[in-house]
């Protein structure tokens, strides 16, 4: 908007990424609150007139931290509930985690179960045939209002920092997340919160007995070789020229990088080369380590 674009020219293409945790109604209320807040701010703060600019489109991934190493098959059930909460809350697309991601990179089999979980939801349960099915429920509405109120108080705090970037630089988000993670872990260890297979309903045999994916040194060698092969076969003059144009664009604050990035990819530049070309101009982000 600073560049003089009208909000309705690009807002309908924006989308967001949410996580779905295990507290079922709280999650549904979270998405509903987010949609309300977004619509209101787009209308009132940014002056959007196109209704498509008011719609919060979002993708949702199930919560990695809710998955457990103990009795890992139970994670299939957790993922299904988390995915259902996201759908009832109005998500446009889903990423369902695999049951074994807490132990290793997932196997084909567990990835397939995660995909089938979505397909059962989408094609068998019929939950996708209605928009906002819990609208009007006294509990969900009350929870949504409360969620909205608390989110707004967070926004007020962020505004006090001067905005999101300033709040990141001050370590605000990092501290909030680290504190919440520690609180969550402590609540499990104190048994204030029940986690099946971890602090309740544990079995005799605790070791995971599912098959895990093995990433060998051979995998790494093969990938490195494949990259080398691409480099050898490509038109290296063209690749070099594309990288130079990208770098020139990085130096010009009025140029749009995207066409140059696409040109680099078409010239078979590697991700490493593209990132290095940009890092030479912009430098690299080093996080403020906050615990």
């Amino acid at each position: 908007m600073k560049r003089g674009m009208d909000v309705d020219d690009f807002a309908p293409r924006l989308s967001f990424f949410f996580n779905s945790h295990i507290d079922f109604f709280e999650e549904i209320a979270k998405y509903r609150a987010a949609r309300r807040i977004y619509a209101r701010h787009m209308r009132e703060k940014y002056g959007a007139r196109d209704p498509r600019s008011w719609q919060l489109r979002f993708h949702t991934q199930t919560a990695g931290c809710s998955a457990t190493a103990q009795q890992p098959e139970n994670n299939i059930v957790r993922v299904a509930y988390e995915a259902l909460a996201a759908v009832l809350g109005g998500t446009q697309s889903l990423h369902t985690n695999s049951m074994d991601e807490v132990l290793a990179l997932p196997t084909e089999k567990s990835v397939e179960i995660a995909l089938r979980t979505q397909q059962v939801l989408a094609y068998e349960t019929n939950v996708t045939s209605v928009v906002d099915p819990l609208g009007g429920s006294y509990y969900v509405e009350a929870l949504t209002a409360e969620m909205e109120r608390q989110a707004e108080s967070y926004f007020a705090q962020i505004a006090e920092y001067g905005g999101v970037i300033e709040a990141i630089e001050a370590g605000f988000f990092q501290r909030e997340i680290a504190e919440a993670s520690y609180r969550y872990q402590r609540s499990i260890e104190r048994k204030d919160r029940v986690v099946v297979g971890v602090n309740a309903f544990t079995g005799e045999e605790e070791a995971a007995e599912i098959e895990l994916l093995r990433i060998t040194e051979e995998t790494e060698r093969a990938q490195a070789q494949a990259v080398q092969d691409v480099r050898r076969r490509r038109d290296s003059a063209r690749a070099g020229a594309s990288l130079e144009r990208l770098q020139a664009a990085c130096r010009d604050p009025n140029d749009n990088l995207m066409p140059h990035l696409i040109d680099c990819v078409n010239a078979y530049c590697t991700e490493g080369e593209i990132v290095e070309a940009m890092a030479a101009v912009y430098g690299r982000y080093t996080e403020t380590a906050v615990v």
Binding site: E101, L103, Q185, L212, E220, A289
Partner: protein, 138 residues
């Protein structure tokens, strides 16, 4: 026991942004009275060992959830030895399968904690092992 508190470096290496576990461990160690230095993300083995030396740490905990543990743990072991710091208690954690954990212990990593490990167990290990080293090194 009125000596200075144990100093522990908690590190993240390579292209791995999963820092929830590392930060939870850092807080647990701090709550147990230790001084914790967290490196932040995307560190090289050289940078990590540099921090360990500069901070005069008693122990170092490395967290890897990217699958690159069989590359990065041995590099840190090597760097520690090269800096004549092989006695510093090196432990780690992450998504590390049992066979790999055994291979890493064989290389000199003192303990590998995987998802589900209770905080108390990790804190006890660090206190005991780093305490023993203090008694020897002073």
């Amino acid at each position: 026991m009125n000596e200075r508190p144990l100093r522990i470096v908690i590190a993240k290496a390579g292209l791995d942004g999963h820092d929830r576990g590392a930060k939870v461990i850092a807080r647990a160690l701090r709550d147990a009275g230790m001084e914790v230095i967290y490196t932040g993300l995307f560190q090289t083995p050289e940078q990590i060992v540099q921090t360990v030396i500069q901070e005069d740490a008693d122990g170092i905990g490395l967290s890897i959830l990217s699958g690159a543990h069989m590359t990065l743990f041995p590099l840190v072991v090597e760097q520690l030895k090269a800096q004549d710091a092989g006695d510093i208690v090196f432990f780690g954690g992450g998504t590390i399968p049992p066979e790999d954990a055994q291979r890493l212990r064989d290389l000199g990593v003192r303990a590998i904690f995987t998802p589900g490990a209770p905080l108390g167990e990790i804190v006890d290990f660090v206190q005991t092992e780093c305490g023993k080293r203090r008694a020897l090194v002073g």
